[in-house]
């Protein structure tokens, strides 16, 4: 199949999708199936890898190569796949529990190494498949089946974890905001290195409404701020508010007026210092609109490419391995 003729239909499997009706995962699946045909990658070169959880069922619904692995370990398997064949476009579908709790160690090392793998973290701030326990992204005081009196631990901020781990591409989008999600996933696909995309995803069974201010059309313009490289940070239904630095790395919300104009606002720079991206990650409701789009997009050596380059370099220097010479190397002696 040539890449030019691929359509969304080619990425739909014959398997019945078994997420709860109304789950945000349906919207994400649809967006991914729309983005993949346009990437110029042959279908057989896509591999979707997952761990355990609702999000982890994703590979079964993508008509690509897929590997549904074990809880939290998708980054390990995906790394092996990518190193074995760097031609492949390797994607991970994961959740907040899978990536940030049981798989925390793997996700940070994936980003540290900058393996050329795309991570989609479906963050619904709850454990869905185990029927409703709080997750590492649940807000403090969360009342769930396992925390009837409220959770007492502080949540992770996935953007901050990614930036802190040295991820070279860090972005955030929203499950039902299809046009935005497709744009972000396209940018992730084009990035060389680990691309980490957090997707606000609604679990309408166990944590319905967790992201309501960012999902509902009439609310999201006042609660989201779009990050666009080289453009000032402006938000609001009427584009009348913005983000200004009141002190270095200290953002504040300002209303645009005749005295406060776009020139006074922070101009988004994907390639800015990590501290700037980290500052964006700290902008949380209710004090701030939540930034969506590409927080950070920088270049760094890519692990799988470096590994192959080293093998090629050693092979060029030493010549292709000669097994007989290897076995018969060192101090040998003859017995007649």
């Amino acid at each position: 199949m040539t890449t030019a003729s691929l359509t969304k239909k080619d990425f739909i499997t014959d398997q019945e999708v078994r997420w709860c009706p109304g789950c945000g995962d349906y919207a994400i699946l649809s967006s991914v199936q729309s983005v993949f045909p346009d990437l110029g990658i042959p279908r057989e070169n896509f591999v979707v890898v997952s761990g355990i959880g609702c999000a982890a069922r994703f590979p079964y619904y993508m008509n690509t190569f897929g590997f549904h692995t074990i809880h939290g370990r998708a980054p390990a398997v995906a790394t092996g796949i990518k190193v074995a064949n760097p031609e492949l476009s390797v994607w991970i579908a994961t959740g907040d529990g899978d990536a940030l709790s049981i798989g925390g160690n793997h996700i940070i090392h994936l980003m540290r190494r900058n393996v050329d793998i795309k991570v989609m973290l479906f963050n619904n701030r709850i454990y869905g498949l185990t029927k409703g326990q709080y997750s590492p992204t649940s807000e403090m005081g969360k009342r769930t089946k396992s925390t009837p009196f409220g959770s007492v631990d502080r949540p992770f901020n996935p953007m901050a974890v990614a930036i802190g781990s040295g991820a070279t591409f860090v972005a955030r989008s929203v499950d039902v905001y299809a046009s935005h999600l497709k744009e972000v996933l396209g940018a992730a696909a084009r990035h060389k290195g680990t691309a980490f995309v957090e997707i606000f995803q609604n679990c309408n069974i166990f944590n319905d409404g967790a992201w309501e201010p960012y999902r509902e059309k009439e609310l999201r313009d006042d609660n989201l701020i779009h990050l666009r490289h080289g453009e000032p940070l402006i938000f609001g239904k009427n584009a009348d508010k913005g983000i200004r630095m009141s002190a270095p790395f200290t953002p504040e919300v300002v209303a645009l007026s005749s005295t406060v104009t776009a020139k006074d606002l922070v101009v988004h720079d994907e390639r800015g210092p990590a501290a700037y991206a980290f500052m964006l990650a700290q902008m949380e409701a209710p004090s701030f609109p939540v930034p969506v789009g590409v927080y950070r997009n920088v270049e760094a050596p890519v692990f799988d490419a470096a590994m192959h380059a080293q093998v090629d370099e050693v092979t060029a220097k030493k010549g292709l391995g000669d097994l007989e010479a290897l076995l018969y190397s060192g101090d040998t002696w003859e017995v007649r």
Binding site: M1, T13, Q15, R43, E44, N45, F46, V49, I52, P59, Y60, M62, N63, T64, F65, G66, F67, H68, T69, I70, R73, P75, A76, V77, A78, T79, G80, I81, K82, V83, A84, N85, E87, L88, N105, H106, H109, M307, Q310, V311, V314, T315, K317, K318, G319, L320, G321, L323, E324, L326, L327, Y328, S329, G330, D331, T332, W333, E334, V335, R336
Partner: protein, 621 residues
């Protein structure tokens, strides 16, 4: 050839011996492993058969002079076939008081004892836990004691070098080595060459070590401390080319050879762990053989990355030891479920938990065969000696690829670090390893079966038209689609069991060494050497006894039941509480006599011989 030659004749009378066991013992900073390795290299160059046993503490530098810090290296070199590093040493070189205290009980009565008297000061004795100086209290009168001021004499030999005393003192192991070269009539050429190569960038250190070695040699000659010197002629090994090899080195080479024969890259995912790390070190040198080594963030990622690489068409490998093995089990279950090749190497060590990291044990057999959730059958094989690790690793790869399922290869600390001469195989004699990736799209079903092996097709990403999904959820046979159907699950459980059971059709007939009836000594893994020696010894003494050593632990060989039935008594020596014995009883309803040792140390020949003699009393020829 001069580098291999016997040294010039000594002036003392020369006695010829067929085998000698030397143990070098000192502080873990004294370089005893190096000294032993050098003596071994020279013995190999002369053509002795040999076996070595490095025994060192887990601490890199335990407090100097204490019992905890004692490191030892034992080498058995011989003009005859040998299978073990020897029960106890004939010669003990003790570089300090603690080394003497920790090792003296093993020295055979009348054995040669060389001590460095400079490390027997009051403080040294106290640290070693001596209340009296053993050199003075007559407790060593049963040995041929040679008291040598090794530290002082080394300093004297290095006086002209101008090196700081601290550096000079680090050369004293070469002084001791020089003494042993004199006593056993060995040329210093092999070690001189090695030192020059090793310290090519630090010629002053090369010179110092050579001076120390020559100093030890010259001291023996000048001071005439030995009344007699010895020679051990070359052994009559089978014709061929040999090299001295440790188990971990051989294992690494076996995997490189398998990947080479299969024509696929080898991907090692590993996390450092004693005593398996040397395989990672070794394989990371062979990048020009298409070897990709990935030092993962943990044991789980190590095996997971290897499984991912297998999915994408490389030969996936992970290497570890007991504690790491426990962490990998969930992934091994997944590999069984998705039916992909995966090689898991477990260099067993003393346990449970951290246990005895640098000591040996065979107690992961049940873990390997059964230690996963649910019904998760896995091929398990074991290496029996240092050089055998090559073929065992090769076989692990062959079975895993052919049968499309993981293989656990068991070795242990004893053979991993021990070394012996290895008769190098001819590449063309190695069995073929055929990789047949699925390319045909028509009628492709990810879980269709080879009629003989029941293996499923290996359909790797990047192959047009073969897009499919695998995963840990139960599969529908054929399509591989998710299935919760009760009958399908039972069918798949049986199918996975049958798939592993059929490996028994793919393994050679069992070969019993010795008598076809009487007592059978049935072993597996690194007990091979001690069992072989003791069985030969017992047969020479007139006991009717045979020896069967299992390579294949799961599935067991098809002819095992029939062989067990031929013998009156079955002795099963294991460095565990009786794990194989338990399996034999369960599978064959046959009682066996256990011989178990769980001291972190390999069996001695005498221990197994005693058990054979006790059992064989009634079945003499």
């Amino acid at each position: 050839m001069d580098t291999l030659g016997i040294a010039t004749k000594t002036k003392e009378p020369i006695e010829t011996l067929s085998r000698v066991v030397i143990r070098f013992a000192g502080d873990s900073g004294d370089g005893m492993q190096l000294t032993g390795t050098q003596f071994t290299a020279t013995a190999a160059a002369i053509g002795n058969d040999l076996a070595t046993f490095p025994d060192y503490p887990a601490e890199i530098r335990a407090p100097a002079g204490t019992l905890a810090g004692v490191s030892g290296f034992q080498v058995n070199f011989s003009s005859e076939d040998i299978f073990t590093p020897g029960d106890g040493p004939d010669v003990l070189v003790a570089m300090n008081a603690a080394a003497l205290r920790a090792n003296i009980r093993d020295l055979r009565p009348g054995g040669i004892l060389v001590v460095n008297t400079d490390a027997f000061r009051e403080a040294d004795l106290t640290k070693a836990g001596y209340t009296h100086n053993p050199l003075e209290d007559g407790s060593l009168s049963g040995f041929r004691l040679y008291q040598v001021e090794i530290t002082r004499l080394t300093r004297a030999a290095l006086k002209e070098t101008g090196l700081p005393q601290r550096i000079q003192d680090r050369c004293k192991n070469f002084f001791a080595l020089g003494m042993m070269y004199y006593l056993y009539h060995r040329s210093m050429a092999v070690s001189t060459q090695w030192i020059n190569h090793k310290f090519a960038k630090k010629p002053e250190l090369a010179q110092a070590n050579i001076l120390a070695m020559k100093g030890g040699y010259a001291y023996c000659e000048a001071a005439e401390i030995f009344q007699v010197t010895y020679e051990v002629p070359p052994a009559h090994l089978a014709p061929g080319t040999y090299r001295n090899i440790s188990g971990n080195q051989a294992l690494a080479l076996g995997l490189v050879a398998a990947a080479h024969k299969a024509g696929r890259p080898l991907f090692l995912g590993s996390y450092p762990i004693t005593p398996a790390s040397d395989i990672l070190h070794e394989l990371s040198q062979y990048k020009n053989f298409g070897v990709y080594t990935f030092q993962a963030e943990d044991e789980i990622a190590a095996v997971g990355s290897a499984l991912g690489a297998s999915f994408a068409g490389s030969i996936g490998l992970t290497t570890t030891s007991g504690p790491g093995m426990a962490l990998k089990m969930e992934f091994i279950g997944l590999a069984i479920m998705v039916e992909l090749p995966l090689i898991i190497v477990n260099i067993q060590r003393g346990g449970p938990s951290t246990g005895l990291p640098t000591k040996t044990e065979q107690a992961d057999l049940l873990q390997s065969i059964y230690g996963r959730p649910s019904e998760a059958p896995c091929i398990v094989i074991a290496a029996r000696s240092a050089s055998d690790c090559f073929l065992a690793a090769y076989e692990a790869a062959r079975l895993s690829i052919k049968h499309m399922t993981p293989v656990i290869l068991l070795s242990d600390g004893y053979i991993a670090n021990g070394a012996e001469p290895w008769k190098l195989p001819r590449i063309e004699d190695l069995p073929p390893i055929d990789v047949n990736f699925q390319t045909k799209t028509e009628g492709f079903l990810p879980y269709s079966r080879d009629p003989v092996t029941l293996a499923r097709p290996w359909a790797i990403p990047g192959t047009p038209g073969l897009e499919h999904r695998v995963g840990g959820i139960e599969k529908s046979d054929g399509s591989g689609n998710i299935s919760y159907d009760p009958e399908n699950h039972e069918h798949m459980v049986h199918l996975r069991a049958e798939k592993v059971a059929r490996v028994a059709l793919d393994i050679p007939k069992s070969v019993v060494d010795g008598d076809p009836d009487g007592v059978l000594v049935l072993g597996w893994g690194s007990t091979y050497g001690a069992i072989t020696s003791s069985v030969r010894h017992a047969r020479a003494d007139g006991v009717r006894v045979g020896h069967l050593h299992l390579r294949y632990l799961n599935p067991l060989p098809a002819d095992l039941g029939e062989i067990l039935a031929r013998y009156d008594k079955v002795l099963v020596p294991e460095m565990n509480m009786g794990q194989l014995a338990m399996i034999l009883r369960a599978k064959f309803l046959r009682d066996v006599t256990q011989l178990n040792k769980i001291q972190g140390q390999p069996f001695k020949e005498s221990e197994i011989l005693g058990a054979i003699q006790a059992l064989g009393a009634g079945v003499r020829t």
